[in-house]
Symmetry: C3
């Protein structure tokens, strides 16, 4: 966590806690199939990029991309760790995390696994930290239904 | 992390650190097959719920459920992330985490995988945070020996 | 996190953040195949122990062990959680984490999985926390290319 951006160090520590919580809530509501709560974690003019040509601009469009998750998957589990937070101002942070996601499909097919990175821009909207931009880059997949993903850019 | 419960914000940040540590110690002692140290992370009148009809009331009963872990598994690895802490008072927190657990059996059979959620009540007992209640809900399993689990309640 | 070592509790919380960041940066640069950035996370007289007879003393030797990672693996993903930090002084901490690492090989063979523990000595060098000693102990592997590992010492 960069410590330059905040005049108040203990406030920045509390902000980091709130940002980690936001990231955990996203995974939770995705796994619980709570599309409305998921969308509420984003600001109105958000941008979500799940892959090339797969994503959304704005909350309404994002809500549409979430339709069908409930029936396409029988269950998912999104495990997020390795949180790196860079505050660029008191109200904005660039955040990188890594993801291991397990997917059980409704249709008869092997479980899908994804290993990847989230690259986020997270902003404070009044008192709440929310996603302004969330981009998923994919390190690798196994038996996953999506074939074209953004790469992590490994050297 | 809810910030309402504490009069002292930096004390609450330190408490959150201690609570994350408790959760990590549980996984460590389980994987190391340290039943005595595991039981000591719980208060005397604890409640542990691993599944329907599988759990314990009180430390003595909990210690009994841990018997046999050392010989049933050759190895386990419990990975806990996505920690969400809600302080309900200065001495009590409701905590939700998610778990990916890998199990290698002593008997010849495929490794068992579990993806799930822990829902905990964690309390401060004099200076130590301890589990008062720990409930495991299961998102999904693969080749796991237990067949009946508490569901996460996905919509 | 032990709270005895620091005279300033909020400074210790900030240090814990920096230490978690260091641990995440290691995994990131390993997965991105950034050997130079990886080596820079270590002090000059570092010790790295990946297994019996497999490791390095000093940054130059460590850099050599990293050669070939870029071509041996097509991709890796290192997921680190369950962070336990013990400060032994204001400038040194003993840190234990657990690792789930996924490896896709360049050669045609099944993906390799490793579940393990990192046991680290992390020190402050001027203003930066760096690894002084990093030891990997292995809980178990599946289809992994390395056959001899340091055990976790499960009872």
């Amino acid at each position: 966590m960069s410590t330059q951006a905040h005049s108040n160090p203990s406030r920045q520590l509390a902000d980091a806690e709130e940002i980690r919580r936001l990231i955990a809530e996203y995974a939770f509501h995705l796994d619980m199939n709570h599309p409305a709560q998921l969308v509420d974690l984003f600001v109105e003019d958000c941008e979500v990029v799940y892959g090339p040509g797969f994503g959304a601009q704005g909350k309404t469009a994002y809500a549409k991309t979430l339709e069908g998750i409930g029936t396409f998957f029988q269950a998912t589990s999104h495990h997020v760790s390795n949180v790196v937070i860079d505050f660029v101002s008191e109200n904005e942070a660039h955040v990188r995390t890594i993801l291991y996601a397990w997917h059980r499909y409704t249709r008869e097919r092997p479980d899908g696994h994804l290993w990847g990175q989230y690259h986020d821009i997270i902003v404070r909207e009044s008192t709440q930290w929310k996603f302004k931009r969330r981009e998923l880059r994919t390190t690798g997949v196994k038996d996953f239904h999506v074939k074209t993903m953004l790469p992590i850019g490994r050297s």
